[in-house]
């Protein structure tokens, strides 16, 4: 089944152009930064570490991104930017996150997170103005909640009181906003009615230069353990008037708009951080290849070798899931609510666990903040910041849990499989259908694609047979989950959800990751990328995911580990990225 949102109806040349443009753009960013180990580079690891120590965002890094006009990647093509596809945005931003999470978030991703609200529900004028602002190099900040309310963002204290004759008076504080002190545009999630319920909030888009400076102030900067260079601070308003035109979408639609925007940002941001995981793995490989211990290189120690391969597989798992999640926004927009939350829940979790394991390989070097491997601990400190606030793991699970019983009843083992394009990293897509995102879905094409694949998997070689076996186990797992999801009590759909329901959401996310891996491998078979076409990585990835589900599994054929290990080494030597794209990196 092909969604009408695919690019199939666009001219053929556009299909080729998208891939050529995307890979060129990713390379442009990557090579714009140059060799991270070049001691003379103003944006090399050493300088980025210094900026972090000084709690500054790298000025040289911001200049590089200004010159590359990174903001254009956040603006839809129709408003003069480069944004066509979410997976492409992830691919481009991954190059920034490979260098520095602080730049990734502080220069870029938060502007995108703010802008999505406007692309989703803003007026034509709001879209045009914001596009103009971003394309001119300006930044946008976004504030969903206050600290006192955590993820419970519908109980918001910050108010935008509607006043007679149109317009609002902003009153109260917003905390922990990236770039609060310097963003030219502000997207603020605001209480616009004192009535309880989900129709009392709205999103406002403000121009900083249009606010009465007497009526708002930037609060002191926070210091954080990670992304130390990010300008995290708060804003405080004192009956600050703003015009009615600041309203994004309709009055009282804030919660709905936020949830729809989250579907885009939650799908996209974790995949950007795969760049951080890539850099961490690369650092550990560099250490393992170069260091002699017990009369041989660390890379020859079986445990170290296995840990590095496992981290690479984790990155491929994360990228498969990120790919399916971002492409689902285009291809299966009605189903994105669950997928986006699953991506945002699981990908950062797998990445941080992989980095923990890598830290064991680095040993004491992990603890040293400077020197050749000092960048590693910075990535470890920076990465968790992605899981804060409105996109924290609990918030994401809380989005999934209430949908489980409906999915179990209607979707699992019932629906149509996802279109093949969902799993094809280089296939063109139509524009992001901002208007088609829905808050909940009764369908699940991603898990259906796993079920559909089980009968069609090859079983010629031992590796293929192993892969087939793991896929069958995943199918059994879904069946088991279906039974449990049907047993969930109504209370499990609320904040009082039992730990069992959280665990179920966790397992479902893992299953979606497995479906993504299987889909990506099936589509890669016979393709140009020999490694992706080989079942070794997919079998090992499914093995890891099944282990995560607590399954006890037969050992994999030894050839799998060897194949993956060779690839880890090849990509290190040839400076290729540790993700689905195998793209060239500067050295």
């Amino acid at each position: 089944m092909l969604s009408e949102a695919t690019a199939a109806d666009r001219p053929g040349t556009a299909l080729l152009d998208q891939e050529a443009d995307a890979s060129a753009r990713a390379a442009e960013i990557e090579f714009g930064f140059g060799d991270p180990y070049d001691p003379d580079s103003p944006v090399g690891n050493a300088r980025l570490l210094e900026a972090d120590e000084a709690a500054e965002i790298s000025a040289a890094g911001e200049r590089v991104l200004d010159e590359l006009k990174l903001n254009a990647d956040f603006v839809p093509r129709e408003f003069g930017g480069r944004l066509d596809r979410l997976d492409t945005l992830v691919r481009v931003m991954r190059q920034v996150f490979r260098r520095d999470v602080t730049l990734g978030l502080g220069y870029g991703a938060t502007s995108f997170m703010a802008a999505v609200n406007v692309w989703t529900a803003g007026s034509e004028q709001q879209k045009r103005e914001l596009a103009e602002l971003l394309l001119a190099g300006g930044k946008a900040a976004v504030a969903y909640h206050e600290l006192a309310h955590g993820n419970d963002f519908v109980r918001n204290e910050f108010e935008a009181r509607p006043v007679d004759g149109g317009g609002f008076l902003l009153d109260g504080g917003k905390q922990v906003i990236n770039n609060a002190d310097r963003a030219e545009a502000l997207a603020l999630f605001s209480r616009t009615s004192s009535a309880p319920g989900s129709r009392s909030h709205s999103v406002l888009l403000l121009r900083r230069d249009q606010l009465d400076p007497q009526r708002f102030k930037t609060l002191p900067r926070y210091t954080a353990v990670g992304v130390r260079g990010c300008h995290l601070s708060g804003l405080e308003f004192d009956d600050c008037p703003v015009p009615g035109s600041a309203l994004v979408g309709e009055l009282g639609q804030g919660v709905e708009l936020a949830l729809r925007s989250f579907q885009i940002t939650r799908s996209a941001v974790p995949g950007m951080a795969i760049g951080t995981g890539d850099a961490s793995l690369r650092t550990a490989v560099r250490f393992a290849v170069g260091r002699q211990l017990y009369r041989r290189s660390v890379m020859e120690i079986p445990h170290a070798k296995a840990t590095l391969s496992a981290a690479f597989l984790d990155l491929l798992i994360c990228d498969s899931m990120s790919l399916a999640g971002t492409r689902a926004v285009h291809l299966l927009p009605e189903e994105t609510s669950v997928y986006a939350s699953a991506v945002k829940y699981l990908v950062p979790k797998i990445l941080s666990e992989a980095m923990y394991e890598l830290s064991i390989v680095l040993g004491a070097r992990f603890y040293v903040r400077d020197g050749e491997f000092g960048i590693f601990q910075k990535h470890v400190r920076d990465l968790p910041v992605l899981s804060l606030g409105h996109a924290g793991s609990a918030a994401c699970q809380a989005t999934i849990i209430p949908q489980l019983s409906r999915l179990a009843k209607r979707a699992w083992f019932a629906g149509e499989p996802a279109p093949a394009e969902l799993f094809q990293p280089r296939t063109a897509l139509g524009p992001i259908p901002f208007d088609r995102l829905t808050l909940a879905s009764g369908r699940d094409g991603l898990s259906a694609s796993l079920i559909a694949a089980v009968d069609e998997l090859p079983s010629g070689s031992p590796v293929e047979r192993a892969l087939h076996g793991f896929a069958l186990r995943m199918m059994d797992e879904l069946r088991q989950m279906q039974e449990e999801a049907l047993d969930l009590s109504p209370q499990d759909r609320t904040a009082l959800a039992s730990p069992a329901s959280f665990a179920l959401a966790d397992r479902y996310a893992v299953l979606l990751a497995a479906a993504s891996v299987l889909g990506v491998w099936r589509e890669a078979r016979g393709g140009a990328d020999e490694f992706l076409a080989d079942p070794s990585w997919a079998a090992t990835a499914l093995y890891r995911l099944a282990r995560r589900l607590g399954q006890k599994l037969p050992d994999l054929p030894d050839s799998c580990a060897e194949r993956v290990h060779e690839e880890v080494l090849r990509r290190f030597r040839e400076h290729r990225s540790y993700d689905l794209y195998d793209s060239p990196l500067s050295a």
Binding site: L147, G150, A224, Q292, L293, Y294, G363, V368, R381
Partner: protein
């Protein structure tokens, strides 16, 4: 022995240190947070520990100090560690500096060092080198004869705690150019007697955590040291340090217990205070499950730490296994606990000014060092793998020093002095702790006849015993892999450490429950005493957690059903015990320890917080 005085030195030290939440206290959380931010060594706090007499506890009684009980020393260090790991490590490193001497030095040498330590001279331990890390045999710092009966030391040690502050250094040096396990010696270097120019410091190393610690390198250039400063026999350095590490690895558990306590307390307070959806967070089932699970894991670590620290005295020959298990499992469990608790705090875990002086993120960073030093995770698992053959063989025969294990479990049993000569690089007779498993289960079964609440624990213990058998089968399949230890063998070793912890928990419970639960029921002045022993609450939760962590089905399993499967009641009771300990100003612990200040006030918490 009265309940309130069991950990008397630790309790006295805690009282002396004062309320850590009061910023006017020298050793306060606020002060430690500032020092960390400024990367400043906590000198004034260390001076306070000196003044109280902590260094005396680093020196064995026979060498003029007060150390005659490793269980007490662990508790003492735990009291320090729960406030700040930089202090605990920065100060406690003197114990590391001395320990080789206690293991292998002559009486005269050891008495002299003991006097220095008691006088407050920091002593450090110089083992690692930049190029070789945990590979001690690769070390290049050499001591060569100067032709006049002395030695000349040259080369660089790196990542050394207190390299600059220490007055003396116990140094691992190559004394045979050919190297090898007999090619090294431990040498006590008195920096104060070295001429200028014979040594220099390598810059302070900026670290992820314990930022204020004095960690650097030190480079020697033909520094003259009398040959009489060799600790023990020339060529015996590797053997000495490996034995000494058995003691220090056991002590490291105190650092993890302190960090875990601190983290758990911060998150508990937050979850009781913070309201969401009209409820406090602690009313949410998921929150309760995370906290109760963490509490159970902390008590497992504590049980293992108590047994290991007593084992120094009574299972000395088995310390090669005991210490590796403790040093692997307690720090990694604590890392896991901290990671799980982090999610409960959200942004507060990362921001420094927002909650409790940013102490949570500090605990997280600081504690990561514990898994890295004194033999990292892999080194410890590897040393267990290397002993698989003996462990399997002896387990199947029921061998191992069971009498020693019982003495380690029975807290009323007096501890004999430690005889360092009994330390051995391998546990020839296997593990007495594991050999007691059937007896402990039998005792539990008997007790369950009287206390129905224990029935579930009996079932859990029996499942654990089956798992222990299977783990030994796995060990057998890996027992010949000595050179290229496979990741699977490491995984088996990990599972072995969980089996060991299960046996330690069961043994500790079996040999103390009647005495401790009775004292608890009497409601002595130590109000919390015996709280977690009632109805075997801590044991029930601990066994369930160990089953889960072993990947065994049937407990509160990987599917996370804290309230549906397993022993949900035990977790609920444990959580309420955790809250009660907090409210009554006690350490959350298997054994009572009163904390300074009636109650600590993290922020705007109020009396009568929900639990």
């Amino acid at each position: 022995m009265g309940a309130a005085v069991r950990y008397q030195p630790a309790e006295e030290l805690e009282a002396r240190l004062g309320d850590p939440w009061d910023p006017d206290t020298e050793f306060s959380y606020a002060r430690c947070a500032q020092l960390d931010e400024r990367e400043e060594f906590p000198a004034a706090i260390c001076a306070q520990l000196d003044a109280w007499g902590v260094p005396g506890y680093y020196v064995p009684v026979q060498h003029g100090g007060r150390l005659d009980d490793y269980e007490q020393l662990v508790q003492l260090m735990r009291v320090v560690a729960r406030r700040d790991l930089t202090v605990a490590i920065g100060h406690g490193k003197t114990y590391l500096g001395g320990v080789c001497m206690w293991v292998a030095g002559s009486k005269q040498q050891a008495d002299a060092l003991g006097a220095q330590i008691r006088a407050g001279v920091p002593v450090s331990l110089g083992l690692t080198e930049q190029a070789h890390g945990s590979d001690l045999i690769g070390g290049e710092v050499a001591a060569v004869p100067d032709g006049r009966g002395g030695l000349l030391v040259s080369g660089e040690k790196w990542l050394i705690n207190n390299a600059t502050r220490g007055g003396m250094l116990a140094l691992l040096v190559r004394t045979d150019p050919a190297g090898g396990p007999r090619g090294f010696s431990m040498l006590l270097v008195d920096k104060r007697e070295l001429a200028e120019g014979t040594y220099q410091y390598v810059d302070k190393i900026h670290t992820l955590g314990i930022r204020g610690a004095d960690i650097s390198g030190i480079r020697f250039d033909a520094a003259p040291v009398p040959e009489s400063q060799i600790i023990g026999a020339k060529g015996g350095g590797i053997e000495t340090i490996l034995k000494a590490l058995q003691l220090t690895r056991t002590m490291c558990t105190a650092l993890s217990l302190g960090a875990a306590d601190h983290a758990l307390r911060l998150v508990l307070d937050f979850n009781r205070e913070r309201r969401l959806y009209g409820r406090t967070l602690i009313e949410l089932p998921k929150t309760r499950s995370v906290l109760a699970t963490a509490a159970a894991d902390v008590l497992i670590s504590e049980a293992l730490s108590i047994v290991a620290s007593r084992a120094v005295h009574v299972l000395t020959e088995e310390m090669s296994v005991v210490s590796a298990v403790a040093k692997y499992l307690v720090p990694t469990s604590t890392e896991m606990v901290i990671a799980d608790l982090t999610r409960q705090l959200g942004a507060r875990a990362y921001l420094k000014e927002v909650y409790a002086h940013g102490m949570f993120q500090k605990v997280d960073r600081d504690h990561r060092i514990v898994g890295l030093f004194d033999g990292n995770t892999l080194v410890n698992l590897n040393s267990i793998v290397n002993q698989f053959r003996t462990l399997v063989r002896m387990y199947r025969r029921g061998a191992g020093d069971t009498a020693g294990a019982v003495a380690a479990f029975d807290l009323s049993a007096p501890l004999p002095p430690v005889d360092p000569a009994r330390l051995s690089l391998i546990a020839r007779s296997g593990s007495g702790v594991l050999a007691t498993l059937p007896d402990s289960i039998a005792a539990l079964r008997d007790a369950a006849d009287q206390v129905p609440a224990l029935k579930g624990a009996v079932a859990a213990a029996e499942r654990l015993a089956e798992a222990v058998d299977r783990v030994h089968d796995e060990m057998e399949s890996h027992q010949n892999a000595l050179a290229d230890v496979s990741p699977q063998a490491f995984e088996t070793a990990r599972r072995y450490t969980l089996c060991f912890a299960a046996a330690a928990c069961l043994g500790l419970w079996a040999h103390n429950h009647s005495a401790l639960a009775a004292e608890g029921a009497q409601g002595s002045d130590a109000a919390g005493f015996g709280r977690v022993w009632r109805d075997g609450v801590w044991l029930r939760a601990a066994l369930d957690r160990l089953l889960v962590r072993l990947g065994e089905p049937g407990g509160v399993d990987a599917r996370g059903a804290a309230s549906s499967g397993g022993d949900g009641a035990a977790y609920e009771q444990l959580l309420s015990d955790l809250c009660a300990a907090r409210d009554e100003g006690e350490l959350f612990s298997l054994l009572p320890l009163r904390l300074a200040g009636r109650r600590e006030e993290p922020q705007n918490t109020a009396e009568g917080m929900p639990c």
